[in-house]
Symmetry: C2
Subunit: 580 residues, 2 copies
């Protein structure tokens, strides 16, 4: 079965739990925004995704992209679907109207891209890079580059890439060697090799705009010597630039997206932003891009869940324990969905999807606030939220997308391991999300080393207080979440002290700390949903599964971090005492 | 890199920790067995695996098996390697000498097959079915079938299959519909379709012996009406039997092994064992087959670990925190193996591999005892061990093979997601082990419903006492394991009580209960290794990682089972009291 967006699930979170529309109306550009407009956009988006994009997912995997003579042919139907996406204005949903955009909130774009990814991850890779390129160029590009490229990127007339990684420089971008030599006419000549370039070459748009991390002559070594250059595939006069795809990678999954090895041979480009400030220019889009990966992950897990849920409602094997389920009828065997082991898988994954969605949508709303609020203090608070919560969501959602898709595969038994049902594709596709846009280990280190420790835990405390204020302490579940937040703040203090004694320690416990934060925030999600969601099985079952099967990891991770800190803070008993 | 067996790692567990050779010498057939013979066999096996089998793994995945006109062509080199395996006597390692076997202990065969699977899972699938077929036929086949097939199966001159699953009957074999109609000459005519038949057709051996689960006319419905028939591809007169492969599956991985859809059209066969007692005939080999899957999983995880370990020792990215590592030298970036996040992954997976290996080898030794001990009480104890520990190992090892291989993939960053390094193949191949030979959910239910509860926990208690007696309570680590065993026994009692109130409950907590047992047993492994292993980084690092990163899950799972039981055993406070 193909992915089917379910706007009702999303609306409950956006409207009932988050009150998105009134919050958005407080921002000048969205003064007219209301639930009706939101519903229209989501319904139409859902239809487009279901009817046009989702049916191409299987061919994207099985036929994949073909590379021949430097050109990439995308899978059957991708060109037409991309045309529909661009022509329908979907790519310019949140772009400014002066660049031809629809100036709608980022949170709607978040939902759209979650669905697109759920329906067809490979197809969505190239278009998903547009928003980052748009924001980057908008903030750092010269008026001349704006004039030539901004509207084209906003609308999707040209697609864009991010050319960062080199064979020897992955997580460590400071090692980038690609050179940019200034030319008398103000342009640069870019030379070097890049790898893992999603959409580096394809047949979706005539032109492709590469944003290339490179090094000017005499640039200081390391990350502070990196510049960013815009290198188009076709030059303004229509001539072919010296930016070429050498081959595409054979990958575990994501076959619908060409992952290109790129070669720049004195290709013509123009600097974006200041010399040696290339990383800063790119970091503009970092939080949005990482949130996007979290949304990919949520979408993929929902896609896996839909498949498993449908299969569990039609496949019969053995009698389920306990009283006869209504679905038994005259059948000798029960639906596998009636078996506790299968029910547990489905409800647990549902708990992750709904809980993470709420946090991801709340983050997307904060992106809107950070961009548009009139009050600098509120903008700053929103930015703080994004800085702290984005790495948590990126790592936790993508880990769960892979683990949860694998759990959903398990629902199919042997049928899950063969191509037929498409579930194994989701597992293969999802695996990359744990790696790109900064591996999950890098996210955890970012959270602890750059976000938690430098301000002594103040930012994290502020985020937790903000969340706490939306809880109702008179409810037992909410009070439980508040207790966990208190434990988390205390843990931060302990970690701070331990890090002073042993600066390596935060690196050792970063993964566990991130999980602790993620699980506490998910507990917040489910407390908020419990306050407002209808009291029916749709929401009650995952709520119960969350408490029973997901939340216990919180104590485990908390204990792991605490013990590691204690080992540094509390000196072990003297060896002689132990010997006695 | 290709997998490289490391006999030293294995010998430490077999000799130093388990004292395998003296234990084996106590069994009549192995009275002459000693460490020298063991070392010779392992060294030779290691060479064969490394030189002949491992180099074919990549082609097995990339080229895979081809199906054309009913015939299956295995990947390049597989035929020659199979010939070497059979000619070298490796397939008949533990078979009886009267059938041309080498009459060596099952525990050596276990090590051989762990290595074969690590080196080339796809290649090893078909040969791995021989032992089960041999044992099944040996115990249940008529003298006539022995005469015709037993030596051929022992030596690998003919390969064998297990034809169980049908499209509608997977975990629920009671639904099998394939028919067997008696023929006046004492044979049967078998008709029906089977799916997921590993090695159902191939070019490795001229003949293939299918063991087919089927139903005689007027057989009772359900599992008690199943019979087992031997259906050869070639009849004794050399004619082609009506047993045909209709297609092979497209799978997530394991492309080196043809997974066949089989069609039997009044194919000639002969019953193995009594009519309607087909499941019993097959259950003979169940524990050995499931232990084999656990060994596959251990092998695959070791293969993933070797790749990641090698990569971490050559790839440099960023400076590691803490004091400069010796490997830094004049380099700007450190080896990624010096980074805490990568070190953690490698040491944690090593902890799983070594700990599980010890348990798996101990189980294989118990298979030898169960088969050969002169004392019926000791045989029975060994059988009890196998019955209880096998589902635990099957589920825990295979889950870890997949999760751990994925963690090893993460070490490579983006390079792990592309084919080049072969690590993504391990992840794809490993996924099936969680499904076949009974899904991991079925293993957990088997453990709780069939092994733990029926005797009131007595068998489990006996196994734990046996393990406890090998600990040294004067050591703090050993005492800690004993405490966990005590918790486990108490948990069993609680579960027993709760199951009386709510018979569905064991099904709901079976997965968590199994994990609790697995982790306690792994803790035993590491206590035993700590008693005896050399005090060097090779063993100290995974020992520490086990305590820090693996064992905390024990308390988490224990708590999950306990709370579920308490919810049944302790009535919730009255609603009115809560309202106050």
């Amino acid at each position: 079965m193909n992915y089917q967006p379910r706007p009702d699930d999303v609306r409950l979170l956006l409207d009932t739990v988050l009150g998105a529309a009134p919050r958005l109306r407080a921002l000048a550009p969205f003064a007219e925004f209301d639930e009706t407009l939101q519903a229209q956009v989501l319904d139409e988006a859902g239809r487009f995704v279901a009817e046009v994009v989702a049916p191409l997912n299987r061919a994207g995997d099985e036929i994949g992209c073909r590379f021949e003579g430097g050109a990439v042919t995308t899978p059957p139907g991708f060109r037409e679907a991309y045309r529909g996406l661009a022509d329908g204005g979907w790519l310019a949903l949140s772009a400014a109207s002066e660049h031809g955009g629809q100036a709608l909130p980022a949170v709607l774009e978040a939902v759209l891209f979650e669905w697109l990814n759920a329906a067809n991850h490979g197809f969505t890779m190239a278009p998903a890079l547009l928003h980052g390129a748009y924001e980057c160029l908008r903030h750092h590009g010269s008026p001349d580059l704006h004039e030539r490229y901004l509207s084209k990127i906003a609308s999707g007339e040209s697609l864009a890439t991010m050319c960062l990684t080199e064979a020897h420089a992955g997580s460590d971008l400071g090692q980038v060697r690609t050179r940019a030599v200034p030319h008398p006419d103000g342009s640069v000549r870019v030379s070097g090799g890049k790898i893992f370039i999603s959409g580096g070459e394809h047949d979706l748009t005539p032109n492709i705009v590469h944003l290339v991390l490179c090094r000017l002559p005499e640039a200081p070594p390391g990350p502070k010597g990196l510049s960013l250059a815009l290198v188009p595939k076709l030059l303004p006069d229509g001539a072919r630039n010296a930016a070429h795809c050498e081959r595409i990678e054979e990958k575990m999954g994501l076959h619908g997206s060409p992952t290109c090895v790129m070669r720049f041979d004195e290709a013509t480009g123009w600097l974006v932003g200041e010399p040696h400030r290339g990383l800063a220019a790119m970091f503009v889009m970092m939080n949005a891009a990482r949130l996007h990966v979290a949304l990919q992950a949520i979408g993929l897990l929902d896609a896996a869940w839909q498949k498993a849920d449908a299969y569990a409602a039609e496949r019969r094997q053995m009698r389920a324990p306990g009283p006869a389920p209504a679905s038994r009828g005259a059948e000798a065997a029960d639906l596998i969905g009636e078996h506790p082991a299968i029910r547990r898988i489905l409800q647990t994954q549902r708990a992750w999807i709904d809980g993470m969605r709420l946090l991801a949508y709340r983050s997307a709303l904060q992106l809107d606030v950070a961009r548009h609020d009139a009050d600098p203090a509120r903008r700053q608070r929103a930015e703080r939220w994004c800085a702290l919560v984005t790495p948590v969501l990126k790592a936790a959602c993508t880990q769960q997308a892979f683990d949860g898709a694998s759990a959903c595969l398990q629902v199919f038994g042997g049928h899950g391991y063969v191509r037929e049902w498409g579930i194994e594709q989701v597992v293969r596709d999802a695996r990359i999300t744990m790696i790109y846009e900064g591996t999950n280990e890098i996210q955890a280190i970012d959270l602890v080393q750059r976000k938690l420790l430098p301000d002594g835990g103040a930012g994290m405390a502020a985020v937790l207080i903000e969340l706490r204020d939306e809880l109702d302490a008179s409810r037992e579940q909410d009070a439980d979440v508040q207790r966990r937040f208190a434990q988390l703040r205390y843990l931060g203090t302990t970690l701070l002290q331990a890090a002073q004694r042993d600066p390596s320690l935060p690196f050792e416990v970063a993964d566990d700390y991130l999980r602790t934060v993620a699980l506490a925030m998910l507990a917040w999600s489910w407390a908020r949903i419990a306050q407002t969601a209808p009291d029916d099985a749709r929401w009650r079952a995952p709520a119960a599964a969350f408490q029973r099967f997901v939340l216990p990891e919180f104590e485990m991770r908390l204990g792991m971090v605490k013990r590691a800190c204690d080992a540094v803070l509390v000196p072990p008993p003297a060896a002689s005492a132990e010997a006695n």
